[in-house]
């Protein structure tokens, strides 16, 4: 099938491409031409008019929980991929805190198989330690061979410095980074950020220093071993500053932030809404200010959703007993545009770096190319589309989002990858002549 994407702005910040109002011709899901097309080329071709929209390398969310295997009632690889496509993503990296954990080649292969026919590329992040217990490192060579792209005990930090050291040393042979959920377990017995709000609400609290301590530890260990550390969902001012200083010293550290950590503060917890319960918890305005600064100066490399589906039954409980996490794949683009681009914190090109290019670089995944003959891997964004979040329309199996009914500006309108296109709730097969 041939299609033309007409009147579209093409932006590829990595390859310094920025063309206004052009056309892109795809044949069999492969880029056939970018630029003005003559009459012969547009015969028997399905046209899509995308005036006012931008075409960018397919977005990539490097931190999602797909819940399969184990909690298929909350999400499956397929529903998670549908949610990703609806949110504007053509690739995701999924975290290993499944049941069983992603700590064997079989589980990696199972997840990849589940996603094999989907538009969205799924790259498993395997457990750093067996069963995520923090005792013995996982079979990293075998996991990488099966398709794992990084290692993490996400949900918790790697328990001890000695296991962290081995994980760095071993994973480094395969150039795979360690992704750390930075939280000192001994300080982590809480349900929200420690501060005046936790005092007022009477909730057990998680101090920001619990994150800072593990970020410090990991940076020092990365320096010592030469390993690569990626700080997941960074949330504190001090952690941002630590990463900035480490980067200056040339230590191999990268970081991601979630939209909720640059959008909401712990003031949101006031009504004990379990949809604002997550780990790391929502922090304070001064942390948000530091995160924005970190996004601007490149200290924070990526934006990731930490998409964490939970069933209604589990979330509908007492705040301190409710599970942590919110879904985010279908709001991340809208929140990033609304809170960052439209508030003039970062430009569109910087946003695309953080939502598409940088996460792939960190995980050693090839960056989609905008050249003739390349597989089309695109996201088509409408930066000015005003829409209201409606969780009942989400493709995710779960509905745990604090952003329901929120007005956002900016949305993905279509994605193309693996010879498939998702637009207006429909899947189109682009393969064949």
């Amino acid at each position: 099938m041939k299609i033309i994407l007409k009147n579209i702005d093409v932006i590829h910040p990595e390859d310094k491409i920025n063309i206004k109002g052009t056309s892109v011709l795809l044949d069999n899901g492969i880029i056939s031409k970018i630029g003005e097309l003559d009459q012969d080329e547009i015969r028997e071709v399905r046209e899509f008019d995308f005036s006012g929209k931008i075409l960018v390398p397919g977005l990539f969310d490097m931190h999602v929980h797909l819940r399969e295997p184990g909690r298929e009632d909350e999400e499956t690889v397929l529903t998670g991929c549908n949610s990703a496509a609806a949110g504007g993503f053509t690739g995701v990296a999924c975290m290993p805190n499944t049941e069983p954990a992603i700590d064997t080649a079989e589980v990696v292969k199972f997840i990849k198989e589940q996603a094999s026919k989907h538009l969205v590329d799924v790259y498993p992040v395997a457990a750093a330690s067996l069963g995520r217990n923090g005792e013995i490192i996982s079979p990293m060579a075998e996991l990488v061979e099966a398709g794992a792209v990084a290692f993490s005990d996400d949900g918790v930090a790697i328990k001890t410095s000695s296991v962290l050291r081995r994980a760095f040393e071993y994973s480094n042979m395969y150039h795979a980074p360690i992704i750390e959920h930075a939280e000192d377990e001994s300080l982590a017995d809480g349900a929200m950020n420690e501060g005046i709000n936790s005092t007022l609400l009477g909730l057990p609290a998680l101090p920001s220093v619990a994150e800072d301590i593990i970020v410090s530890r990991d940076i020092l260990m990365a320096e010592y071993t030469g390993g690569r550390i990626h700080i997941a969902h960074i949330s504190t001012k001090n952690a941002v500053n630590l990463v900035r200083e480490a980067k200056k010293k040339g230590i191999k550290v990268t970081a991601e932030v979630t939209p909720h950590h640059f959008t909401l503060t712990d003031d949101s917890v006031k009504n004990y809404d379990t949809n604002v319960k997550m780990n790391p918890p929502l922090r304070t305005q001064s942390d948000i200010d530091a995160i924005i600064k970190g996004l601007k100066d490149g200290t924070i490399d990526c934006i990731a959703s930490d998409h964490a589906p939970h069933s209604i039954e589990e979330k509908e409980s007492e705040f301190q007993f409710a599970p942590n996490g919110i879904i985010g794949l279908e709001t991340i683009v809208g929140l990033s545009f609304s809170e960052l681009v439209h508030k003039n914190k970062i430009g569109i090109e910087e946003l695309i770096l953080k939502l598409s290019i940088n996460p792939r670089k960190i995980l050693n995944i090839p960056i989609p190319k905008f050249e003739v003959g390349a597989l089309a891997n695109f996201t088509i964004l409408d930066p000015d589309l005003v829409w209201t979040v409606d969780v009942s329309k989400f493709k995710s199996k779960s509905k745990n989002s604090p952003f329901d009914k929120r007005l956002l500006t900016g949305k993905s309108v279509a994605v193309i990858n693996r010879k498939k296109m998702y637009i207006d709730n429909q899947w189109l097969d682009l393969s064949g002549a």
């Binding site: 420690e194 501060g195 005046i196 936790s198 005092t199 007022l200 609400l201 009477g202 909730l203 057990p204 009504n271 004990y272 039954e313 509908e316 409980s317 007492e318 705040f319 301190q320 007993f321």
Partner: protein, 306 residues
């Protein structure tokens, strides 16, 4: 005369007039408690459920007596542990109870925020009988009432709350209530038991118990939890008693007729020496009696609102 809310979830944000109304109403009920027949028909036909997800014999008995003396039908529902472990969600439990047509729910729960959650899922009047380390408004109200009765006023007094402030719902409710009533509030205890941000509540922090005695008109002494987990916050009971325990010798040395409150149950020889616990400064059992009157006042004011 009526309160501005149909629930009592805490004292944060409760206006002065409401607190005044509750305390004044308690006065009326206090008189009834001294009569040979301690029962009035005020809440006849109303059903009150005492929903206790955490054991608390004295608070439950106090509420139950208050309900019975107002002629309400009192039902006790006690469950230990969280709803999660029970197999039925908290919401389902609550919906089931309400389907039996109840009017008011008195709730005690280990999780902060549970009373607020109840107001969202059911129509009954909700009274918080203690939620996690958040609030325990009727305890604070009875403390305020007891102080007002003994001293004759609240405005301008200096009250220090002593003990584990960080893990106390009594402390937080007292801070809100006392401050609303124009009391100068301080807290005293080991620094590990005082929230980092407490000063933002307009509360002074004292680490020296002798200074706390000298500087204040009233000490509200909290029970120290002796369970293992709570014990991580101070080195030993001996050290706590030595540096924060109130003894007669300490009271005499500081030469002051400070009024001593304690919400009970007392750890004798820890936060209060036996001599002080039975001495002339304390009003501990007076508080217990007032507790019934305060709870009658709250039940009456909320129960007759609809």
């Amino acid at each position: 005369m009526a309160l501005s809310s149909r629930h009592l979830l805490g004292l944060q944000g409760v206006p002065k007039e409401d607190i005044q109304t509750i305390l004044d109403t308690a006065n009326t009920f206090r008189e009834i408690l001294e009569r040979p027949i301690k029962k009035v028909p005020t809440l006849q036909g109303k059903t009150v459920v005492n929903l206790f997800y955490e054991s608390s014999t004295r608070t439950r008995i106090s509420f139950e007596l208050a309900e019975k003396r107002l002629s309400a039908d009192a039902i006790n529902f006690s469950i230990s542990g969280s709803s999660v472990s029970k197999g039925e969600t908290f919401k389902d439990t609550m919906k089931n109870i309400e389907a039996m047509k109840v009017d008011m729910v008195v709730v005690r729960h280990s999780a902060a925020g549970t009373p607020l959650y109840l107001t969202k899922i059911c129509n009954s009047n909700i009274i918080n009988a203690g939620d996690g380390t958040h609030e325990h408004p009727t305890q604070a109200l009875l403390d305020l009432y007891s102080i007002r009765q003994k001293v004759g006023r609240l405005e301008g007094l200096k009250v220090c709350i002593v003990g584990d402030i960080a893990h106390s719902r009594v402390a937080l409710s007292n801070i809100f209530g006392l401050k609303t009533m124009g009391v100068k509030v301080s807290v005293c205890g080991p620094s590990t038991m005082i929230p980092r941000d407490i000063k933002n509540l307009g509360v002074d922090v004292i680490y020296d118990i002798d200074e706390a005695i000298q500087e204040n008109d009233v000490l509200n002494v909290l029970r120290i939890q002796l369970e293992r987990k709570a014990r991580e916050y101070f080195p030993s009971i001996r050290e706590y008693a030595k540096y924060f325990g109130i003894t007669q010798e300490r009271l005499d040395r500081n030469g002051k007729d400070v009024l001593i409150l304690h919400p009970g149950p007392i750890n004798r020889g820890v936060e209060l020496s036996s001599e002080v616990a039975d001495g002339s400064n304390q009003i501990i059992l007076y508080q217990v009696t007032n507790g019934v009157a305060i709870r009658m006042a709250v039940l009456y004011l909320l129960g007759t609102l609809n």
